[in-house]
Each structure stands twice: as C-alpha cells, then as structure tokens.
C-alpha cells in the first residue's frame, strides 16, 4: 500500500470512529496528518488538499475529545492550507465550513456556527451536490437545535427526510430521525403532539437498533426514560436510565454517566426509594474512585455533590439541581 492509500484509509477510519472511540480516532487522525505531510508534493493542489483534509479531520478529532483550543488551531491550519490552493475548490471549502461550524458550536459560539453551516448549505445547493447537501441540512438542524430553535431544527430535519431522502446514507438518516424525535419531544405541549413525538422516538429506536451501541443510542435511552415518565411508567424510566448509565460507563463518557445518575437520583428521591438511592450513591463512589485524569473538574464536582447529598439521607430536589448545574 502506498502512502496516499494509507493516508486515505487513516482519514476515513479516524472519521468513522470519532463518535464511538474519540481517543482512538484522535490517534488515527494525527497519524493521517503525519502521513499527509510526507506525501509527494510535486502536484501542489493535491498535496495542499491532503494537508487541508488531514488537519480538518484532526480538528474534528480534537473537538470530539473536548480539546477545543487545539481543535480551533487545527482548523485554522486547515483553512490556511486551503487558501494556498491555486484552483479554488468550493466543495472542499463547504466541508471545512461544516467541521468549523461544529467547533464553533462546541465553543458555544452558535451564531458563528450557524453562519458557517448556512454558507455550506448554500454552496452545496449551488453545486447540486445531493449527498453532502442532505448531510449539511441535517447539521444545520442539529446546530439550530443547539441554538435553542427547535422548530427551525425540526423544519431542517423534515426537509432532509422529505426532499433529500434519496441522498441520505444510513448514519445521516439515523441522525435526522433521532434529532427530530428529540426536538418533537422538546416542544410537545399536548397529547397529540406527544403521541407524534413518541412515534418518531419509536422509529429512531428501531433505526438505532440496527447499529452498534453509540452515544446517540444511549442518549435516546434517556429520552425513552423521559417519555416513560410522562406516561407514569417509573420502572421503565429507571430501567432505561440505568442502561444508558452503564452504556456511558463502557464508553468512558463520565460526564453523560453523571448526568444520568443525577436523573436517577431525582426519580428515586421523589419515590423515597432508599435502595435505589443507595445504588446511585455506590455508582457515584465507584466512578469517583476510577476517575481518569482527563475528566473535567465540573464532572468531579457534580459527582461529589451528588454523592454527598445522597449520603446525608434523602436528597432534596434543590440539592440535586445544584449538582446538575455543574454539568449544564
């Protein structure tokens, strides 16, 4: 296999594993970038394109492990390389915008994120690039949702699923259905709209079931728990939340695990279920003991507060809310 093949393979593997194994994906992305730097540079634009893509994948990989300063800097390098091209490539520029938009979104600079994704969508529309357009519309929906505009997000997902269904790959379709379910639940105000949201939730559940365990599926379990609570089915809610907790523990995502432990504590406390609370406390202490060095302080503080609140007896909703604020 030559260097170019190795580079392509590493870039694709890094992007494919980014959501499931972020740390591994970062290693792959850095390796891809190192291989890219050593590629034959006799064809200027091809070499520049390889550097651009490699650095942008590194930026996304840094983002996925929460290293946002490094992600931003890597993105700046990618853009710098892109500007060195002799021939402009709008498609590659749009791809950079998509990645840059997520970096800005994680930095909570959502106006800038939306500006980037809007231009990416327009560029793909102008290019008549069906597949990337469909994905970019979904990205736009995700970012609109994060910007607190669920109705606009729903419109974007509906557009992707209705108008661009033929251009969606499995993962993009799953993302659209999943997020549509999440936002429909967010705005559901009456029985009919809740029923509609539940239908999408069911659909998302089936779509997820065809894929291995992912962060998305685990978050969906949390949403299922919420739906179960709305229907008064506490047992199902608790079951789903524990399943999500265990899943996040396996993925090493302690922040999400803690958030679900807090949700569990809230439900157990409301029901005066001391056995359940003890189970939560045990999980907290185990998690605190096994805490990795790279875990953020907010997670540790939230965990500690949660564990202390439970240790003092039945925690009040206020105490639990305070623990949760560290993670919001």
């Amino acid at each position: 296999m030559n260097h170019l093949d190795t580079y392509h393979q590493l870039v694709n593997r890094a992007d494919d594993t980014r959501h499931r194994h972020p740390a591994r994906a970062l290693d792959l992305a850095l390796e891809a970038r190192d291989v890219a730097a050593r590629l034959d540079n006799t064809d200027h634009d091809t070499w520049i394109e390889a550097q651009t893509i490699a650095w942008s994948v590194v930026a996304s990989a840094y983002r996925n492990v929460g290293r946002l300063d490094d992600a931003e800097a890597a993105m700046v390098v990618a853009i710098g390389f892109h500007e060195q091209r002799h021939e402009p490539c709008p498609r590659l520029a749009a791809r950079l915008m998509q990645r840059a938009a997520y970096v800005r979104a994680d930095q909570e600079r959502l106006d800038e994120a939306l500006e980037l994704i809007d231009v990416a969508v327009s560029t793909y529309r102008d290019l008549d690039a069906a597949n990337p357009l469909a994905t970019a519309i979904i990205d736009r929906g995700v970012l609109l949702g994060r910007a607190g505009r669920p109705r606009h997000a729903i419109a974007a997902f509906n557009e992707a699923l209705d108008t661009h269904a033929h251009a969606l790959d499995d993962r993009a379709r799953l993302a659209a259905i999943h997020n549509l379910a999440v936002h429909l639940h967010e705005i559901a105000a009456d029985t009919e709209s809740r029923r509609e949201a539940d239908r999408w939730l069911e659909l998302a559940w089936h779509a997820h079931a065809e894929h291995p365990e992912t962060v998305g599926l685990l978050k969906l379990r949390g949403l299922c728990a919420l739906a179960a609570l709305r229907h008064g089915d506490h047992e199902r809610a608790i079951e789903e939340l524990w399943a999500a907790c265990d899943g996040f523990a396996r993925l090493g995502d302690h922040r999400q695990q803690t958030l679900f432990l807090i949700d569990l504590a809230v439900i157990h406390a409301e029901r005066h279920d001391f056995e359940g609370l003890n189970k939560v406390a045990t999980a907290c202490f185990l998690l605190l003991r096994s805490r990795d060095d790279h875990d953020d302080e907010a997670t540790a503080t939230a965990l500690l507060r949660l564990a202390r609140a439970i240790a003092t007896g039945t925690p009040s909703q206020d105490e639990l809310r305070q623990a949760a604020t560290y993670l919001e």
Binding site: D69, H82, E112, D118, E159
Partner: protein
Amino acid sequence: MDPQNETARALELLRQLIRTSPYTQRQVEERAGFSRGYLSQLLHANLDLKYRHILLVLDVLDMEPRAFFARLFPDPEADVLQRFRERSAWRSDTVAADLETLYDAGLESVRQLRKRIETCERVLDRLGLLDDEARR
C-alpha cells in the same frame, strides 16, 4: 445591477427561506399580518416588493435582516472561513509544535528537490539540451 433581476433574486431567497422554515406560506402570511393571498402575490411578483415586506417576513422567520442581505449579496472578500481564522485566538502550543516538526521537514525536502532540479538543469545546460523557454 438590474433592479428587476435583483428583486427576483430577493423573492427567490424569500421563497426558499419560507420553504425551509417551520411555517407554511399561509402561516407566514398570517404572522406577518398580511391579508389572505397577499404573500403569494408578492412572491410571484404580482405586487411590488417593499423593504417593509421583507422585514415583516424576516421577523416571522426569526432571521436578522443583516443575515438575509449577506445571503443575497455575499461579500467575496468576507469569506466565512477567513472570518473563522480571524476570529480565532491561537491558544494551542501542541498544534504550533506539531506544525514546526512536520513542515520544517517538509520545507527541507522541497529545498532538496529544488537543488536536484537545479543540478539537472546545469547538466542539461552543459550538454546544450536546455532550450530558451526552459532557461527562463
């Protein structure tokens, strides 16, 4: 700039924004305070489009006029990626160190390549095989 064309472009963008918004055309019409059928007439250029109309529709769509006109008249100088770069604060020693390690070596190989080409050129020149075009 042809005002008629520009108005047609503005109308097309408005149609596109309404199509991709959470609202139907009828809902936008109602929320903007237009009478029934008025928006349709506007969008089909059967009525004169006024600045006020644009503002009312954008308000319903929750879009800043600035963003609308930026979409309509994108500034070629103000590239969004360039803006990303300008708005970024470089706070990564890791990336700086990696850049130095990777591309210092990269530049070195370019220099070596150039040296090899110059050597080849000298040999070709001595053999009288280098034409005037190549010499330039």
